[in-house]
């Protein structure tokens, strides 16, 4: 078995007032271990739905999702998820947010505190362990969300436009940090974004989706060695090609 995650003919249809709306049609995708895969596509193409199905928060109408050889049938801590919206529990301090999954699992206080501190350090917020989410900036909140998702040691990290609601500068910093985290934890990351720039900067491979009904129209390897330069000629070329791919489907 050479893939971490496999989507096989995944289709999702929503029923709304006697009309069936196809959100996703026949999506096939294989993600390799340790791969950083970005999914891009126009808004409304179902990329978030796809990620939610992998997380187990939604169910495919047909087809199957296989992670580490097991069929996904519901949410589980072996798939970490970072949402686009700020999703920290506001009544828990930063450390207690990170500990949440471990607490649910029944791990004892001391042990989970140690693990939480380790992940807090990984995202560079060791001075904010006892702060409440309202005291943090948007970028810091998302860092904590990443630490929290990683703390349960998931087999794959799913990220749904996690940097969509922070400003551009913070976004660049967070992208760099995410790459560093990825390098250190060797996680498989599935990252949904609508930003071509983000995908080209982050990904090993980019899957391009079409407008509704969403399907994967192309997969492109980003062969640029890291650390990447956002403005390099290769990056621009790849961006250009991705934009053409996205644009051609728009006209349909």
């Amino acid at each position: 078995m050479n893939h971490k995650l496999k989507l096989h003919r995944v289709t999702k249809a929503f029923q709304s007032e006697e009309v069936e709306i196809k959100a996703l049609e026949d999506v096939n995708l294989e993600v390799k271990p340790n791969e950083f895969l970005c999914i891009i596509g126009p808004s409304g193409c179902g990329k978030t739905t796809l990620l939610r199905m992998i997380a187990g928060l939604d169910y495919p109408s047909s087809g199957e999702i296989i992670l580490d050889g097991d069929r996904v049938s519901g949410p589980s801590p072996d798939r970490g998820m970072v949402f686009q919206e700020f999703s920290l529990f506001p009544w828990r301090t930063v450390l207690k947010n990170i500990e949440f999954g471990l607490k649910i699992r029944g791990m004892e206080d001391k042990e989970r505190r140690q693990i939480a501190e380790r992940y807090l350090e990984l995202v560079g917020l060791q001075d904010f362990g006892n702060s409440y989410p309202y005291e943090l900036s948007g970028g810091m909140k998302q860092r904590v969300a990443i630490a929290r998702a990683l703390a349960t040691e998931p087999s794959i990290l799913l990220m749904d436009e996690p940097f969509g609601s922070v400003d551009a500068q913070t976004r660049n910093v967070l992208q760099e940090e995410l790459l560093e985290i990825w390098r250190r934890t060797k996680k498989t990351i599935l990252f949904v974004t609508h930003s071509v720039d983000e995908a080209v900067y982050l990904a090993d491979r980019v899957a391009v989706m079409s407008a509704r009904p969403g399907r994967i129209i192309a997969c492109m390897d980003i062969g640029i060695p890291r650390p990447r330069k956002r403005t390099s000629r290769e990056a621009n070329e790849i961006r250009e090609r991705l934009l053409v791919l996205l644009g051609s489907k728009h006209q349909k």
């Binding site: 997380a55 187990g56 928060l57 519901g74 949410p75 589980s76 801590p77 798939r79 970490g80 998820m81 949402f83 919206e85 999703s87 529990f89 506001p90 009544w91 828990r92 949440f100 999954g101 607490k103 649910i104 699992r105 409440y132 989410p133 309202y134 005291e135 929290r148 998702a149 349960t152």
Partner: protein, 257 residues
């Protein structure tokens, strides 16, 4: 530059002015203690009545305690059920909305017939008064839990209603529960006085004020008890806020001040 420390005693000034005006108007304009007893006379009455007063305060607090405990322990489980499970809400809400507008005082005859002339009957009226504010604010809290928090819980292994309620919904709803309880305490306190006034039981602040002092036209005593009712309610509210809101909701700062 305006310094906030200078404004700390600001509330004292109007208070003193009002009390002085009261004293002067009662003493030199109205000159009839039956219509408006002087402030100083009222303070003196409090001193005269101190032993009776303490007994009445304790009895009223007992009524209040019975009613609030009952209201809270019935309203909270119902609020969880109504706020978390859509179908329970749909099934129960019409009944709630029919019973809710009935003034608590309209329940007094039934309370007396069912329970008798005792502390529990008074407690029952307070229960009716405090129950609905607690219920409604609390179920709103449970109903409004953001989807993303529930799903975050799910992905982190917090699955199933019991775990989700315990770890996600309840902490999220706590401030609403506290607000409801605070409002319920206010309504409940008014009901204490009213229930006692109608003679449910034979002591308590309301009972004494209406059944004894008023019938004897001792208006200075009446006003003294009124003052005590106000100050006591203020204290209850402050104690509640100190122990519940300030301690429990540090995380809420920034959302509500």
């Amino acid at each position: 530059m305006r310094r906030p420390t200078k404004e700390e005693g600001l509330w004292l000034v109007p208070l003193i002015i009002v009390l002085l005006l009261w004293e002067i108007i009662a003493g030199y304009v109205i000159k009839d203690p039956l219509i408006l007893p002087r402030f100083s006379a009222v303070i003196f009455s409090i001193y005269t009545l101190r032993e009776l007063l303490i007994l009445d305060i304790l009895v009223s607090l007992l009524h209040f305690g019975i009613g609030m405990t009952l209201a809270f322990s019935v309203a909270l489980p119902m609020a969880i059920a109504m706020g978390w499970f859509r179908n329970v809400f749909r099934a129960v809400d019409p009944i709630i909305e029919i019973v809710r507008p009935i003034p608590p005082l309209a329940w007094i005859p039934l309370a007396i017939v069912w329970i008798g002339l005792n502390h529990y009957a008074a407690g029952f009226i307070i229960f009716i008064g405090a129950f609905f504010p607690i219920l409604i604010d609390s179920y709103t809290g449970f109903r409004d839990v953001p989807r993303v928090l529930v799903e975050t819980g799910n992905v982190l292994g917090c699955i199933g209603n019991i775990k989700l309620i315990r770890y996600v919904a309840l902490p999220y709803a706590l401030p609403s529960i506290a607000t409801g309880t605070r409002v319920g305490m206010g309504v409940g306190w008014m009901c204490v006085v009213a229930a006692e006034m109608f003679g449910v039981g034979n002591s308590g602040l309301g009972y004494r004020l209406f059944q004894k002092f008023y019938f004897l036209h001792q208006m200075d005593y009446v006003v003294a008890y009124m003052l005590i009712l106000g100050v006591l309610a203020l204290c209850l509210d402050r104690v509640f806020r100190h122990f519940v809101e300030d301690k429990l909701f540090r995380w809420k700062k920034g959302i509500v001040k």
